[in-house]
Symmetry: C2
C-alpha cells in the first residue's frame, strides 16, 4: 500500500462543508459572511501523550477531540480539519481503527477532513482544526471581570486518576476504572456548550493541563485573581470515593487531560448559564469567583485558605 | 526554559494580519469579503525530510517554504500559519537559529505565526499555512485542457543532485555544489508567480515529489495526457554540465524537492504567461503540451518518444 492509496482508502471522504477537500495542493474553506475563522493545532506524540500500546480507535478519537475542545473554548462551530500523520509503517489494521475513531467524531460534529500529509517516521499525530465564530463573539481568555463566577463543565480529574492506575500508583475497582479510562482515552469536547455560552461567558479555556494551571492562564490574561471553593471542587472528581482523601484536590486542580470548559460569567447571568448548560446537555458547576487581587486561592466553607500549588503541565519544565 | 517561555521567546510576535494571534485556545482569522481561505499542511520528519545534522536556520526556512509553495500552487496570497513542533530537548541555540530562519521567510511574505503547539518528542515540524484567494480563482490540478502548453518555473533537479552528493553517489565542484545545496536547503516558494498566474494558468501544482510524478497528478485530475520536449527539459537542470549525461533526464523528471511551479496555460496566452513571469521576476520555461491521449511521454526534437518511467516519491511504497 503506497502513500496515495493509504490516503484514499482511510482518509478521503467527500467534503460537505468546504468547496474543495483532499487531493489538491490546498483545501479551500469559505467562512460565511460575518464569520471569523478560529484555528487551533495540537500535536500528539507516542510515549508522551499516549502509550505505545494505545488503542488506535481511541487515539483517532482523542486526537480530534483535543482539537475540537479548543474550538469549544472559543465558542466556535467546527467546520473542517487537516491531519498530518507520521507512521513507523503502514499497518492496515491500525489505520483502519485509527481512521474509524477519528471519522466517527468528525461525523458527529459535521467537521470535514479537508487535507493533510502522511510520512514515515516515529508515530506523531498533528491536527489543525477550523471553526466559525461570529465576528467579535469568540470567547477569549482575557475577558474575566472582578465579581464574575467561575464554572467548570462535566467532571474533572478522573482522566489523571486513570493515568495513575495505568502507571501502577493507584488501584480502582474495575467498573470505576473503566469509567475513568473512558475519560482519559475518549474525552468529550464540549462543543455545544461553548457555542451556547457565547454572549454569556466573559472568558473561557479548555482544561488540558490541569484546572489550576489553566485557570491561571485566564487570570493572567484578564489581569485578575480568583478564589475557588474547596467544597465545590471535590465533587468534580467522579471517582472521588475510590481515591485517597489527601490526593483528591490534587487530581481536580492538577490532573489534566480533562477537556472540559472552564469559564467565567457575571453573577447576574447565573440563570443564562444554567439555560446554556441545559441546552447543551452538559453539567456545569460553579466553583468560585473572580477577584481583583491577583493569584489563585482555594478556600474552605469557613473562608480559610487551603495551601496548594497550581503547577501546570509543561512539556519542557 | 519551560514550554511557555520557549513559545514567548522564540515564536511569539505581534500578529499583523489576523485579529488574534498566539496565546489563546484558538487564533482568529478574518478573510476579506469575497475571498476563500486556502489551507495546506506539511510535516517534516528528521531522517526522512532532512538529515539529523541539518542546519537549523535552513530547516526553519524550508519548513515554512514547502508550505508557502502549496499556497503558490493555488495562486493564494499568504496570510498566516501555525507551527506544531516536537523537540527532543529545548536547545536554545538550535531554537534561535530555527525560529530565525522561519521568521525571515514569514516576514518576507507578511505571513503571521498565529498559533501552535510544542511538545517533547522525536524532532518533527508540522506547519499548517493559510492564504487568501478570490472566490473561484484558485488554481487547481484539474483544469488542464487539450492543446494547453506545459510550463515549469525556475530550475528543476538541482536539489536532488545535491542530495546525491550528500549521499556520496555524485561529486560536484564546490561552487556548483553550493548552489545545488541552496536549492535543497533553502527552496524559494513561487508565491508571486502563483498569484500572477491567476486567470491565465488552467492548472498548477508545485513540484515536490518530482516533475514527472507531479505532472501525472495534474494529468489524472484533468483527464488528459501530455508530451514533454526532451530538449526543453534538460536546460532546467542548472548543474547539468557537471552531471553524467545519462542521469540528467532522471534528475529533471524524478528529482523532487524543487518547489517550483508546474502549470498549464492555453497556447494563445503565451504573452500573458511571459508578462506574469516578468511581473513575478521568475523564469518560466515551456516544456511540452497537453494532449487528449492519457499518459505522460517525452519526445526528442524529431518527435520520437524516449523511454522513461515517471515514478513519484512515495513515503510508503
Amino acid at each position: 500500500m503506497g502513500e496515495f492509496d493509504l490516503i484514499d482508502r482511510f482518509f478521503k471522504r467527500p467534503a460537505r462543508r468546504s468547496p474543495l477537500g483532499i487531493g489538491d495542493d490546498c483545501a479551500l474553506l469559505a467562512p460565511r459572511p460575518g464569520m471569523q475563522l478560529a484555528v487551533s493545532t495540537d500535536m500528539l506524540v507516542e510515549g508522551r501523550h499516549f502509550f505505545p500500546e494505545a488503542d488506535p480507535e481511541s487515539l483517532g478519537h482523542k486526537s480530534l477531540a483535543v482539537n475540537l475542545s479548543d474550538l469549544a473554548a472559543c465558542g466556535a462551530e467546527p467546520l473542517a480539519f487537516t491531519l498530518a500523520l507520521a507512521l513507523p509503517r503502514a499497518d492496515e489494521r491500525w489505520l483502519d481503527a485509527f481512521s474509524s475513531g477519528m471519522r466517527s467524531l468528525a461525523h458527529a460534529h459535521i467537521c470535514d477532513l479537508v487535507g493533510g500529509d502522511t510520512t514515515r517516521g516515529p508515530l506523531n499525530v498533528c491536527i489543525t482544526v477550523f471553526g466559525e465564530v461570529p465576528q467579535g463573539e469568540a470567547l477569549l481568555r482575557s475577558g474575566a471581570q472582578e465579581g464574575d463566577d467561575v464554572y467548570a463543565s462535566g467532571t474533572i480529574g478522573d482522566a489523571r486518576v486513570a493515568l495513575e492506575v495505568l502507571r501502577g500508583s493507584l488501584h480502582l475497582p474495575p467498573v470505576v476504572f473503566a469509567d475513568a479510562l473512558g475519560r482519559l482515552e475518549r474525552p468529550t469536547p464540549r462543543v455545544a456548550l461553548g457555542q451556547a455560552l457565547r454572549g454569556i461567558a466573559t472568558s473561557a479555556i479548555d482544561v488540558s493541563d490541569g484546572l489550576g494551571g489553566d485557570l491561571q492562564h485566564v487570570l493572567r490574561a484578564s489581569n485578575v485573581g480568583a478564589t475557588l471553593d474547596h467544597d465545590a471542587l471535590l465533587p468534580l472528581l467522579a471517582c472521588r470515593d475510590h481515591v485517597p482523601e489527601l490526593r483528591r484536590l490534587d487530581f481536580v486542580l492538577g490532573g489534566g487531560d480533562d477537556y472540559e470548559l472552564l469559564f467565567t460569567a457575571p453573577a447576574d447571568r447565573r440563570e443564562a448559564v444554567q439555560q446554556a448548560s441545559a441546552q447543551a446537555r452538559t453539567r456545569v458547576t460553579r466553583i468560585g469567583c473572580i477577584e481583583r487581587k491577583p493569584g489563585l486561592r482555594v478556600a474552605d466553607s469557613q473562608g480559610r485558605y487551603i495551601r496548594h500549588t497550581f503547577a501546570s503541565f509543561d512539556h519542557f519544565a
